[in-house]
């Protein structure tokens, strides 16, 4: 059996809608992208609904589906993936929250939800909170990028059934976490105790004293949202018998990789921002393919342009994505099946995710090449793959890579 390796490239938020200023083209249709088009012209194409037609996917739920899991069954919130993203290995029963370092006044009224987008000193602040004990509950705390952080509560009898302590709007007092049902009582108590202790520890912390002296808002509070229990995901190593690795700049996506049993490959210059080094990601992917069966690459930049509503910027990002694909094309081994897709659409006109399907190209040396000449939302709709769902992707790729087991005889 001629087993192939699989390279799955996920351009975050790439899908879009026709934009008047672009002559009713989508950014993908408007951008010159000879290499992406080459893969489409030499591959088999279709549209992919990450979850189901019209369902607006988050990056987390979509990645679950693209890795073959049922997001409705397995998704427990974003917190646990963020925790995995910053390197916290969750245990069964742990509750994880996404947090911001924030600024509050002496009445615990929110004055800056991102503590002036604090960049430095967060590691020190996090260390001051990590390891805290709240009765029988233990606190694990890690800084993320900029003002972001992750809180994990570990102990018996915890549940994710609690409200956020993030008021989301400045001028509001930090609310108490409340159990949303009977099971959340212990967790709400622990989370409220954490919030009070965090303020006590942070308000006089040297990092914050220095910030105040410089006229910067102090990171004297932690606000929490999106609590969730560690999800129960069968690792892809067992599920598909694949040794797998992922490359991403964003912590959430790294957390998705780790939660699915994939190794995370850190790439210098892969920032998860507009400045990310896409060619470095491509090189890392090619290197990883020498030792892994499945390599997943997430490139975040197009999504950021969509959220900002910057169509011309999205076109520029697509041109850089195309250079990345050119590098891959030039150095791709014969026996690799390549899939190019997105985790969801982020139309510039909407500045948010939408339920529009995303383009999908599958390239490999014996795919049923169809007559689609371009990699964009409308061209691929005429392709041989038709309209698939996110959860179909892994089986389709495994089949193309000659790695499926027969069901029946």
């Amino acid at each position: 059996m001629d087993r192939r390796r699989i390279l799955l490239i996920i351009f975050d938020g790439l899908g879009d809608r026709p934009i008047t200023e672009l002559g009713h083209k989508t950014p993908l249709e408007a951008a010159p992208k000879p290499n992406l088009d080459w893969f489409a012209a030499n591959g088999t194409n279709g549209l992919l609904d990450p979850i189901a037609p019209g369902v607006t996917a988050g990056s987390d739920t979509s990645h679950l589906a693209l890795f073959g899991y049922d997001p409705v069954e397995t998704y427990t919130g974003r917190g646990p993936f963020e925790a995995a993203g910053v390197g916290l290995a969750l245990q069964k029963g742990d509750i994880a929250f996404r947090c911001n370092f924030a600024s509050v006044d002496e009445n615990l009224v929110l004055t800056d939800r991102r503590a002036g987008r604090i960049k430095e000193g967060t590691a020190e602040l996090a260390r001051a909170l990590d390891g805290m004990r709240l009765g029988r509950v233990r606190v694990l705390f890690r800084e993320g990028t900029e003002h972001r952080a992750v809180l994990v509560l570990r102990g018996k009898g915890l549940s994710a059934d609690v409200s956020d302590t993030d008021p989301h709007e400045e001028g509001q007092k930090i609310p108490d976490a409340k159990p949303t049902n009977g099971k959340g009582k212990n967790t709400a108590k622990a989370l409220n105790a954490f919030t009070r202790r965090a303020y006590e520890i942070l308000k006089d912390h040297p990092v914050n004293k220095a910030r105040t002296e410089k006229g910067l808002p102090p990171a004297n509070m932690v606000v929490c949202r999106g609590g969730g229990v560690a999800p129960d995901l069968e690792p892809v190593t067992e599920r598909y018998g694949l040794k797998a690795a992922g490359i991403a700049g964003v912590a959430l996506i790294k957390g998705m990789f780790r939660s699915a049993g994939m190794d995370v490959i850190e790439v210098k210059g892969a920032t998860g921002g507009l400045d990310t080094d896409m060619v470095a990601k491509a090189e890392a992917a090619l290197m990883a393919l020498t030792t892994y069966d499945l390599v997943v690459v997430n490139v975040k930049a197009a999504d950021l342009c969509g959220h900002d509503g910057h169509a011309s910027e999205k076109i520029k990002v697509i041109e850089r994505m195309d250079q990345m694909m050119g590098h891959l094309k030039a150095h791709l081994p014969q026996d690799v099946v390549v899939a190019i897709t997105a985790d969801h659409s982020t139309p510039c006109g909407l500045k948010d995710h939408s339920g529009d399907p995303v383009p999908l190209t599958v390239f490999g040396n014996d795919v049923r090449v169809d007559e689609v000449p371009h990699f964009d939302e409308r061209s691929v709709a005429r392709g041989s793959l038709g309209r698939l769902r996110g959860r179909d992707l892994m089986p389709v790729l495994l089949s193309q890579a000659n790695r499926t087991e027969k069901f029946g005889a």
Copy 2:
């Protein structure tokens, strides 16, 4: 209501992938097949995933799906269908195994897994084993084609949770069947008792004495695999109100028909091999349509070429399939809906089943004819049926035949 009859033609293993030697065409694309193309050009077309996208189907699980059953729910292994295929009417609780007549030495070490591909005398050997009593368990045993046979264990408290007694490799001792969980204990005991008794009965059987004198390996052992309980399938007669019949050369497929409540029509010259008389099958199908509402025809030959990796042979088989379709076209009554499809792809380059979808053409006097000119994997992808799943086929055909009942009012 103008109710139509349905003719479903399943070309086993017909789907393929582009092949370099054929100028990157599939065998279907490379073969001249004016009649198949005529049905596509005058029908509505699409791609069919027998189970789901990317899932590699066996012939058995695929036929279940094509008949409208959920294979995940109903499939209990190949054994019961093989039993039905050789004419053993299974009862609830029966456990059926696929068997080989095999040769062992006096230490019960396997010396020939197919007893020299024994062709003659197997009916006599089977009769010597059939009816055996093992405590409260009764043995039903039938010969199949060549070295193949079927064992059914009938009794209370049996289950299919036992390991095979087929060591699969020569030079290995015949292993004891072991329960794979607590439920399999009685079955393992009965199967091991059968194995010992079968050896005692077969080793001195006149058929084997004659073989040994001729220098042929004796069929002195029976090895069993793939045990399964009789599946619980609502007959198509009740499920769809259809009087149905099937035509096939291969015992497994005949068993699929019988298990689904279809009559089996035996056709002289329908061998299930490359030498099968396809036109005879077409004539039998046309005859059957005078008394049945649904007639299913399975033609195995293309699958054999795929397993052997013989693309040029597959093209020749397709040309013969086309002659069969020409015969059908010339004699087809007005009121018959014809579906032409495959149960799975068996790419010549892979020499095994794959998860690639198969072409589907539905022809009838008021189908929504689309612009697909050819019956092949890529042409039909542009058709009006889009991409369907195996389980969708029966409802689509019933609707085209004006035989569905309204869901709702």
